[in-house]
Symmetry: C2
Subunit: 254 residues, 2 copies
């Protein structure tokens, strides 16, 4: 979720958490990264989200944010441990980068590393460390010309993506990058606000009651989280860039 005004992720997270073991097979852990400026705080557990008291606490005590990444895990490589739980976090250029991956990158361990080393055993974390290293080597500091960063993330995402399905969400405190390898969808929620109903539950939210007309919220998910809103499907090999609750660019990422 990426917004132009601090927003709580409760509604979307509730829908996602259902897929964490109740209405979906993603029961090997869950995580949530919530930005406050350049810093992200994370809530992580190597257990199913739907039964987690911590996940319930986060829903009951919503924290407003401009940028959040949430993940429920169905493991392909790596045991269900805390170290293998997405989103992964690293500091680069004095800001947190957070990363969640859906898919499997083959031979990820062959990707060259540098300043960032995996703590766990997933292909996902290794690919994230490799991606950050490519960015670190290209830019000495956070690029002032943002489009340079967007293009680099898309290109390096494409390089790593040749090894397998590399659907990812990457946050840097300013942007949400969303790469589609196989499956991804997004939604821009803006005025006139209406209601929305979770795809996996009978929960309906009336956004017109909790928003101002200038609010914009972009939501990206592997599979649409609501059933009565218009979601845009991603094209494999493309990457979206979101900022201020809007899609700013669609870049080739091959």
């Amino acid at each position: 979720m990426e917004c132009n005004v601090p927003t709580d992720i409760t509604f979307s997270f509730s829908g996602l958490a259902l897929r964490g073991g109740a209405k979906g097979p993603h029961a090997d852990g869950w995580g949530l990264a919530l930005y406050d400026g350049r810093v992200a705080r994370t809530f992580l557990e190597p257990h199913p989200a739907h039964a987690s008291v911590l996940a319930r606490f986060v829903r009951d005590n919503p924290i407003k944010t401009l940028l959040a990444i949430a993940h429920v895990r169905k493991k392909t490589r790596g045991e269900p441990t805390l170290a293998n739980t997405h989103p992964f976090v690293r500091e680069l250029w004095g800001r947190h980068f957070t990363f969640a991956h859906n898919g499997t990158v083959k031979g990820a361990r062959d990707l060259p590393l540098g300043s960032f080393a995996p703590i766990g055993t997933t292909d996902s974390e290794h690919a994230f460390c490799a991606l950050l290293e490519l960015l670190r080597k290209k830019f000495r500091r956070y690029p002032s010309r943002k489009r340079d960063l967007w293009e680099a993330v898309a290109r390096f995402g494409g390089v790593i993506g040749r090894r397998g399905s590399f659907n990812f969400l990457l946050g840097d405190g300013e942007h949400l990058f969303a790469r589609c390898a196989t499956k991804l969808a997004y939604l821009e929620r803006r005025a006139p606000f209406s209601h929305a109903t979770l795809a996996d539950d009978d929960v309906t939210m009336d956004f017109s009651a909790v928003t101002n007309t200038t609010d914009r919220v972009a939501v990206v998910a592997t599979v649409p989280l609501t059933r009565d809103e218009v979601w845009t499907q991603g094209v494999p090999g493309q990457m979206w860039v979101f900022r201020g609750g809007q899609r700013r660019a669609t870049l080739a990422s091959v």
Copy 2:
């Protein structure tokens, strides 16, 4: 807290949280890092600990760990923001290092950085980044001869400590390093276990009911957390190393 068996930090954290705005002036934020092997999960808030619903959640739903670092902040430099909240976390050699500081390092911004950059504006985070960079430059990977690491942390801690009061706790998932610049105390809790009473409250815990005879727990704090146990006071310019719930070394750190 550093232990030889997974232990929950509820009792000690309850005592510390009282100092976070209720029985002490440290009301500018609180944080808790709990290790699970090489990875740490953190709970952080730029608000007083004693009134925090998240701090209460952590107390009500204890997570067992071998190594934890908790901090309540009374700000000297840097605003009470999430980015300025201890403990700070960075990955080095594929493990999380966590760091909490009590004191002020003068001219911290002059300390050379490299692979680690501060996200916030505190002297503490800058000093932590500089300390990690010194370690990273000295060792290509996590040293197999642990005493080399202990001595390096003590030496580099002493170098930075020349600039001001550098009382710190540093965790790496295996050790707890505790440097005394002005004030520090520790306790080894082991059999025969008895009861202990918090220094700042009338809460008493009977450890004999929840422990085995081989359990060992080391607790380090600026000021002793309990009033009926024997705490060892630190000597300025010395650093303790804890592992397996025992003090393993006392090193000069000047």
